[in-house]
């Protein structure tokens, strides 16, 4: 169970639906541990600024998370969370282990466009 305020993806079917229905998706696949929690926290903050991006998470140990663990883009990853960025259902970027806010916003800005401040 991930104790975050992000949208939880709990099955492969939900994963398929979310990346099909949203142009830009950031999905963090991890556990409630030291490397993952800061990334969830940053995503929760950025959710308010990046209205054109769907932010969600998925439990790494959920058997259904094979949809993330088996992606060719995560081959060689040896640190959670696996963070996947989708555009129009396709993986455009994937990162392994903890990332800071500057690293994450750089990816969001490059792949999905900069945040529009209210």
């Amino acid at each position: 169970m991930l104790y975050t305020n992000l949208t939880h993806v709990e099955s492969a079917a939900e994963h398929t639906k979310i990346i099909a229905e949203n142009e830009n998706v950031m999905l963090i696949c991890g556990r409630m541990g030291p490397m993952c929690i800061p990334v969830y926290g940053i995503a929760e903050e950025l959710e308010k600024e990046y209205g054109h991006v769907k932010f969600c998470d998925m439990e790494f140990d959920n058997p259904e998370a094979h949809v993330i663990r088996n992606l060719p883009e995560v081959r060689g990853f040896m640190g959670i969370p696996f963070t996947i960025y989708y555009k129009n259902g396709k993986v455009v970027k994937a990162t392994s282990s903890i990332q800071n806010k500057n690293q994450i916003t750089a990816i969001l800005d490059k792949e999905f466009g900069v945040a529009v401040k209210a």
Binding site: Y3, M32, G33, M35, I37, G41, I42, G76, M78, G79
Partner: protein, 317 residues
């Protein structure tokens, strides 16, 4: 944008949040500016079982409760921001963020906490998450049946080295000194473990690989000889450093970069207090951080009220 507060707290770990709760409950206008995720290192603790009054709770949940308490009393919180400038001199203190926001205050509580120390060797950033890890419980299972290195000689390093033997086929501990700093029971368990071998008085000087980490350079500190050592992974547990780089030259620090305070958590700068893991002290726990934050907030409250009282006297005189 320029906003004035009675007190600004830099840092949103248990020390900063406790200070925020006390200051805002005292009806003082308070802002917490936090460069990371609210909760600091507490948020990274899987289980907190020694916080009085709470039988067992995750660090994440305890952080959220403290944050809610602070906000309920009116404390404002800005997290995941970067401080570009800090002015502690004079009666009015100020903090500038890299987005240009400027905040001023009568008093400041410094609670920036600490972070895991990294090795600083070539290639370390490149292979983070691709063979280099700082968390055994997070990433241990990626190294099942693999040969790994654990760097460090304290309790964390030795305990995590033993826990990693559940996955790894071989664990080599690399430590810079000729002795360990850990408790004797941790030393005994690690050094007698059949899967663990030791490389004492040695340091890693470089990481190599392609997609993943494949080897490290290890320097023998006695001979100066460097040799390449094949490994599938490296776990780093070499302690913490205080997040006080931005305070250099602004407040008195000791040689380790820790903030020096008196019993009221006051620094050498008038109106500036400090709390938590970045303060020079012997013990660092959630409870000690909360205690520091409480003392700093009460001392800051007294300071602010004294200033306000003097200002009133000048106006009425």
């Amino acid at each position: 944008m320029n906003k004035h507060y009675d007190a600004i707290i830099t840092g949103g770990g248990p020390a900063g949040l406790a200070a925020g709760i006390y200051l805002s409950r005292a009806k003082l206008r308070t802002l917490i500016i936090n460069e990371g995720t609210v909760g600091g290192q507490m948020v990274l603790t899987h289980e907190v079982a020694n916080y009085p009054g709470v039988e067992s709770i995750s660090g994440y949940q305890l952080s959220n409760v403290m944050k809610k308490q602070a906000e309920k009393f009116g404390c404002e919180i800005r997290s995941n921001v970067s401080i570009s400038d800090l002015n502690l001199e004079g009666d009015i203190k100020s903090v500038t963020l890299d987005d240009g926001s400027l905040y001023t205050s009568n008093s400041m509580v410094l609670a920036p906490g600490g972070r895991s120390r990294t090795i600083g060797a070539a290639g370390e950033d490149l292979f983070k998450g691709r063979g280099i890890s700082y968390c055994a419980t997070c990433d241990g299972d990626f190294f099942t049946d693999k040969e790994i290195v654990v760097v460090g000689g304290g309790n964390s390093a030795l305990e995590e080295a033993v826990s990693l033997t559940r996955y790894a086929s071989k664990v080599t501990i690399v430590h810079q000194f000729d002795h360990f700093q850990a408790f004797s029971h941790a030393i005994e368990e690690a050094t007698s473990h059949p899967k663990i071998s030791l490389l004492m008085e040695s340091v890693i000087t470089a990481f190599y690989g392609a997609d993943n980490l494949q080897s490290v350079d290890i320097k023998d500190l006695k001979t100066g000889r460097v040799r390449n050592f094949k490994t599938d992974g490296t776990f780093v547990f070499i302690g913490y450093v205080p997040n006080t780089e931005f305070l250099q030259g602004k407040v008195e620090l000791n040689q380790r970069g820790e903030i020096l305070t008196n019993a009221d958590m006051a620094t050498n700068v008038k109106g500036v207090f400090a709390a938590g893991d970045a303060v020079a002290k012997r013990f660092r726990q959630v409870t000690t951080a909360v205690a520091d934050g409480t003392v700093a907030a009460l001392a800051a409250s007294a300071y602010i009220n004294e200033i306000k009282s003097k200002q009133k006297q000048l106006i009425t005189a």
